[in-house]
Symmetry: C2
Subunit: 96 residues, 2 copies
DNA sequence: TAAAGTAGTTTACAATATAAACTATAATTT
DNA sequence: AAATTATAGTTTATATTGTAAACTACTTTA
């Protein structure tokens, strides 16, 4: 790509982008909350959260709220930076 | 997706987005020019141009420059509208 | 006339996204 | 108390997509 910088493929996915954009503003959110906000299915969300986690863009902690399992996602510094960089690259595409 | 509107999958692809963003500014461009600007391989570009064409986002005309075949792509009204709509949706993601 | 270049297209494969099916536990209902 | 429904996810199977490699067809050059 000469004129067009590569878009981070991890962020260039509708659901992962939605998750990250949510986490950028709230920093921390629970699985169920993210699921509702994004409208994703649990399976799809689970997979995509895994990928973001493996990339170090978010940190995932599992605990219990009463007797129910709760998965909490926190955006990492690396995640914030990646998101900002992605947004900048994207802007360069759409305002050519 | 409750909070997040769907991103047109035809535009949410790095190469097709690059092609469309190029065509939005220049209106009309030749295959080889697009190939150079985007850094895509000919095969990949050919496939993606086909998809944009089938969607009615661009019009493709084939002619000759001297004895060499030339494929020219023109963005359509529908394409411009789709691009603008995509950009708006995207903006709503990244400035939440 | 053989080799290399140009302009693409087709096809085969790898990667991705997604839903469906599943696990595990808890709370209700009958 | 057994069966049913609900909650919170995970795993897996499939369909879709993206991409490069291989190919076609023609032209130019050595």
């Amino acid at each position: 790509m000469s004129d067009f910088k590569n878009l981070d493929p991890l962020l260039h996915s509708q659901l992962r982008l939605a998750v990250m954009s949510l986490l950028v503003s709230v920093q921390s959110a629970e699985f169920v909350f993210i699921k509702e906000k994004t409208g994703a299915t649990a399976g799809n969300l689970s997979v995509q959260i895994d990928k973001l986690n493996n990339a170090g863009y978010i940190e995932v902690t599992k605990s219990f709220k009463g007797k129910k399992p709760v998965t909490t996602c926190n955006i990492s510094k690396k995640g914030i930076e990646a998101f900002e960089s992605y947004v900048n690259t994207l802007q360069s595409y759409i305002k050519k």
